[in-house]
Amino acid sequence: MKDEAIYRRLFRTALLIRLVEERIIELYPSDKIQSPVHLSIGQEAVAVGVCDGLKPDDLVFATYRSHGFYIAKGGSLDAMFAELYGRKGGVSGGKAGSMHLAAPEVGLMGSSAVVASTIPHAVGAALSFKRRGLSQIAVAVFGDGATEEGVYHESLNFAALMKVPVLFLCEDNGLAVHSHRPVRQSYRLAEHAASFGIASRRLEEGWDMLAIRQATLEAAAKVRAGEPFVLEIVTSRYKEHVGVGEDFHFNYRTSDGVDAWKRRDPLIVDQKLVATLRPDIEREIEAAVAFAEASPAPGRDELLADVI
């Protein structure tokens, strides 16, 4: 089956992301990764489904929570682990760390730790594509909380006015740090986007990689035809906002929602496929960790390079 092959491909990438992050969890207490990590465990399907629905030269602008997008876009695993380790072999020579993964060679155009700040970047790239008559599209990836920032409004308005090929992709995990969406938002994304004349879709099945891929293909087609689009995908953050632990014991949320999500999470449900793919993926990860461990730390030579 064609769909089956696609599913397997998506599944493998999602599992790679999950296992990479589980490896990060294991490594973290060793203090080898000395930087804040925002895990996407539970949210992998979004990155995987979306990136698979894009063309390789479509550009993604992302956030501090972008291990998933980095991997799904095809970033090098060696360079990623070395980056988390703060080593010279890192994709950014250790200067970026987990919060600022980038891989322009595969279309990941940088991740910012300031919420919402890359949204207008995607709009700007799309503006450029349009003026040059290119068929690429730009994707702004952001969380539900990011839509509260004024720049989201400015970006939607400008994108709609200029009719630029930008896909606004909201990962709705319902949380901004420990705040639930209803205490932060008086609007729903669909109506809000519609008020700018921007079409949108909300996908509740954020565990379903094929559905996300399909929704992305459809949205991207509209975007490529010259209309911005808002795609909102419901998802679930299993771990704490930042760091490698769980946070249910802090009582700001219960585990119910996450448990329900896990019951539908293919990476948990489909243990057979996990078992099949795992050994190979683990070897890949171990190689990347080994690469990172072997990579030298940057030194004084690097400190003042690339400032201007």
């Binding site: 203090d31 000395q34 930087s35 804040p36 990590v37 703060g86 080593r87 890192g90 020579g93 250790g94 200067k95 970026a96 760390g97 987990s98 919060m99 600022h100 910012s112 730790a113 300031v114 919420v115 919402a116 909380g145 990011a146 509260e148 920032e149 004024g150 901004a176 740090v177 420990h178 705040s179 205490v183 932060r184 938002q185 930042v242 760091g243 802090f250 009582n251 700001y252 730390a297 940057p298 030194g299 004084r300 690097e302 400190l303 003042l304 400032v307």
Partner: protein
């Protein structure tokens, strides 16, 4: 050497920086019905690193509340509330996020009293936290004191201890006539300080944190602690007596105090948390040469962030920030010259001295 040993003075109890913040926040809400605290996460279980924990429960959601991600809007809301007599306290868990509120802070809050010839006032406290270490990276580590202090109308302080908070915050909240920006330092939050009952030992300006006669060290925020540690070291190892001035107020320092100290010592180290260019170190030099270019017997030594955005890698971060090693060296170079020959402390990374501060936040 442990931090607990760094006592600003004899005191009567031990209180962490976060604890001092929580006490002053609590007291502000208890004492002033017009005071409220708003900011992202002020009412959650982390409570701005422990500085607001439990206050929402104690004073209710109308006094202590979470806000959406809206730095510019929140600051504008605070100004509006202040204009009608409230006293708002807002928070930014990283100083970097205050750049999103720069228009409201600089164009509005800082100007309102003057622009309307005294008709308007918007007293309020904006608490912003500087990040450092554990790979905070380029966007979670900035320390914009000179940026804010450049603009008349703003009062900018950088409390370096629990005592500074206990003394200054009650003098600011609902008492100071205008907007105040307090730049708190994340590395200080978990440190314990010995504090004495508030006798306003820390004024809303600069003060001598340690008396000395050989060299003047002007320091801000966490660099005051580094300077105190270094001063102890150079006294122990080389019998050098360093005078340490906590600049404390960046907008309204006591420059005469600084000049008097330099007049006495003729030697200067400036240790700041930000970049040197157009920073605190620059203004210190201006104030000195305006009084008397002869005050300095030799070029001063300056410690601040390397002239680059902050890198994430630990190996780079360790050389990006001035370490205890460099602080000690700076003092020794000033007093004994480049070839002072005195062994430096092995500790290179400052965070090694702050064991209780451990990532991710």
């Amino acid at each position: 050497m442990s931090i607990a040993a760094v006592k600003p003075d004899q005191g009567t109890r031990v209180l962490s920086y976060a604890g001092a913040l929580l006490e002053t926040m609590d007291a502000a809400l208890a004492d002033h019905a017009n005071t409220f605290i708003m900011g992202q996460g002020v009412d959650d279980f982390k409570g701005i690193f422990g500085s607001t924990t439990g206050l929402a429960e104690k004073y209710g959601a109308a006094r202590v509340f979470d806000v959406p991600l809206m730095e510019e809007g929140m600051t504008g809301v605070a100004i509006g509330a202040s204009l009608v007599g409230d006293y708002p306290i807002t928070t930014h868990i990283r100083a970097d996020f205050s750049f999103l509120a720069m228009n409201q802070i600089i164009n509005l809050a800082a100007k309102y009293r003057y622009m309307f010839g005294g008709l308007m006032r918007c007293p309020m406290l904006i608490r912003i936290v500087v990040g450092r270490s554990w790979g905070q990276g380029a966007q979670h580590s900035q320390s914009p004191q000179s940026t804010f202090a450049h603009y008349p109308g703003l009062t900018v302080v950088m409390p370096s201890s629990s005592q500074a908070i206990l003394d200054m915050y009650p003098a600011i909240i609902n008492r100071h006539p205008g907007p105040v920006i307090s730049i708190e330092h994340r590395l200080l939050y978990n440190l314990d300080f010995t504090v004495s009952p508030s006798e306003h030992r820390v004024p809303l300006t600069s003060y001598v944190a340690r008396k000395g006669s050989d060299v003047t060290v002007v320091a801000t925020s966490v660099m005051v602690l580094e300077a105190l540690r270094a001063a102890q070291y150079v006294e122990d190892k080389a019998g050098i007596s360093a005078e340490i001035i906590d600049l404390n107020s960046i907008s309204h320092p006591d420059w005469d105090l600084v000049a008097a100290s330099v007049r006495k010592t003729g030697r200067l180290v400036v240790a700041d948390t930000s970049w040197l260019e157009y920073g605190v170190a620059a203004e210190v030099c201006r104030q000195l040469v305006m009084r008397d270019p002869g005050l300095l017997r030799q070029p001063p030594t300056m410690l601040g962030m390397a002239p680059a955005p902050c890198p994430t890698a630990k190996s780079l971060e360790d050389i990006y920030y001035p370490s205890q090693h460099e602080t000690v060296d700076a003092i020794l170079v000033q007093v004994r010259g480049d070839n002072h020959g005195i062994a430096l402390p092995v500790e290179r990374s400052m965070t090694e001295g702050y064991k209780r501060f451990r990532g991710p936040f």
